[in-house]
Symmetry: C2
Subunit: 356 residues, 2 copies
DNA sequence: CGTTAGCACTCGACAGTGATGAGTGCTAAC
DNA sequence: GTTAGCACTCATCACTGTCGAGTGCTAACG
């Protein structure tokens, strides 16, 4: 699609103005507000052409014009200038990096918060979906005579821990002491470190049982919990932040519409459905209105990017009305991706594939 | 305040009906809906008396009557029958107990979720505020040559872990191996287990430095992170759930009102201000409208209870419009408190003080 | 031939109007 | 003491006319 310079500028004015004000915009307003050096009548003629091309529309005869989905698409593809982060945004992200040089899990939550705070749009961030989590390290820690603590480190440096309550029928033999536990930890690490849960064969279990000796009764509860933890780890979590921000948009003023969005963003299943769209896409992707496969989002736009850590890929996204500030949202999202890259590198994981 | 039987029943009818419908209720409706055996005219006379007593009011002449704050207070204090949990509610809680026999941290989050799901009101639950967290156990776990994992168990069985990145200038000496770390863990436990962060004196640090020997460079980073973790632990967290439910209430239909509530419930500071009201109160407490010290909540009611674990006390609360279903809310809250008690007992902590 | 001014037309927003109905308070009768 | 009846109040709703923003069309202008 080709537009002459004047049409280009008029469309740009309509889109940016509508993104800002959420009000249909008329020819006279454009003539006054944007000094294009032509009269409102001329603008009317051009607008009529733009309407024929399907780039703008009107809600009823004699209302101002509003960008159509095609118009937004044209704007995103051809008009949007990439914007540098503002000083405040850059500083905010910088501080976040410092706070996050800790653990991958927190980084993901914090990323969601930062995204929504910087953009005023609700943010969704999913943990990387890992095909096969493997055990990196196991440590048993004594608590008291009837329970002990199991700490599990996985190959992505996620750390999990859970209390193991020893079955009451074997409680008479009691929990092993500190020294015994370090020995048992060593046995566990020797046999199952580097393995995924499926790799633990009957054979390996038998060997470990023998080496556990008098503490054999501890092994099965421990293995059971390890299996649960790995399974929970394979269950990807999704974090959202700033959902309340949608109340600020007039397009969700109707309570039923706001409720629908709230519902979708608090429900795990629908969150996955939202993020699962076009999973293979590289770089930042903008999905406008009906381009969404979900009916619920046909009135919304979604800006999303996939990121990769080690052997898994996760997703990071912003949701807003179709009239969302694509320029800002894309630049912030891109900044955040670079941020994640730095944190991940600091954690010694493989870098995020970020393409802008 | 004393009411004769007829006035009592009429007030009860007005409160329960208004809680259900959110519409002012007139004399004729009461006469039809509740078979009190008297005509609407008589009811009108009685209502006039109730209005003089300040228990009900009307929005304008010739609107139906609405309970006043004093009316709600009278209802809660004198009319509310405690209700047994329904089968569904009881089952739901039972399942929750089973899922929660893990760790105190998750229990608190899950409690918030359960509360809001069962009542349809937003729920707030705070972690117990602990005066002085003490270290119960420390374990250092090897990760790779430049980092190790620190696991910390506190006296309330909260488990925290964080990766310790060794300073680069000492990286040449490398991270200690598995065996060395178990020895270092033992040193740490010998000296600071059972202590709070303030109890770690310069003297103790010097002793540990000596015992660490060639790995002395590891000690300070580790202690620094322990201090941070304990500090973070002393920072009580607050969880909310089901905030979106307020959209369902007509009293928050105005966007500005809903936004105010959302804002208050997403902001840590205001959450604490909400929960801090009448901290010393025992058992379940109902705070109605202007009884709230916060201006923001003057139009809301708050149902809250404090719970105690070991040396700390936390808070659990429901927020709703003044017209909230006190009967249901109180019974569910009381059920949840008993639930927490069971989980806490299973964890070996001291029981919740639940008084209903 | 592109641009512009002028004009008729459309339609949403808003304020004013009257009818309707739910509800009250008062009074008189039971 | 209780009830029926009646006048009165007030929110709600549908309807109406006015106003203004905006469009499309046409004719005139450079």
């Amino acid at each position: 699609m080709f537009l002459n310079d004047r049409k280009f500028k008029i469309l740009q004015a309509i889109v940016t103005d509508y993104i800002e004000t959420a009000e249909p915009i008329g020819s006279r307003t454009i003539a006054k507000k944007y000094s294009l050096g032509i009269s409102s009548a001329t603008i009317r003629n051009e607008m009529s052409d733009l309407e024929d091309m399907g780039l703008i529309g009107q809600l009823h005869t004699s209302s101002g014009r509003v960008p159509s989905e095609k118009g937004y698409r044209f704007f995103v593809d051809s008009m949007m200038k990439s914007r540098a982060l503002s000083v405040e945004e850059a500083l905010f992200l910088q501080r976040m990096i410092i706070d996050n040089i800790g653990q991958a899990e927190y980084m993901i939550q914090e990323t969601a918060k930062a995204l929504s705070r910087l953009t005023k749009y609700p943010a969704i961030v999913s943990e990387p979906f890992l095909k096969k989590t493997t055990i990196k390290h196991i440590q048993l820690v004594p608590l008291d005579e009837k329970s002990l603590l199991l700490v599990l480190v996985t190959d992505t440096k996620t750390v999990k821990n859970q209390i193991v309550n020893l079955p009451s029928d074997t409680r008479s033999s009691g929990a092993p002491g500190y020294k015994a536990l370090t020995k048992l930890s060593a046995v566990l690490n020797n046999h199952i470190s580097g393995k995924s849960i499926r790799d633990i064969s009957r054979d390996i279990i038998d060997k470990m049982l023998a080496e556990f000796g008098e503490n054999a009764h501890v092994l099965m509860p421990v293995l059971g919990i390890i299996a649960d933890m790995i399974k929970a780890e394979d269950d990807v979590r999704v974090y959202t932040s700033g959902i309340k921000n949608i109340l600020a948009f007039p397009e969700f003023a109707e309570k039923s519409k706001a409720e629908a969005i709230f519902h979708a963003l608090e429900d795990r299943e629908s969150l996955f459905a939202i993020l699962d769209q076009s999973k293979a896409h590289e770089g930042i992707q903008v999905i406008i209105g009906a381009e969404n496969t979900l009916d619920l989002l046909k009135a919304c736009s979604l800006i999303k990017a996939n990121y990769t850590i080690d052997n898994g890929t996760g997703c990071i996204a912003l949701i807003g009305p179709m009239r969302m500030d694509y320029t800002q949202a894309v630049s912030v999202l891109s900044g955040i991706l670079q941020n994640m890259q730095q944190v991940i590198e600091a954690l010694g994981l493989q870098a995020v594939k970020a393409t802008t």
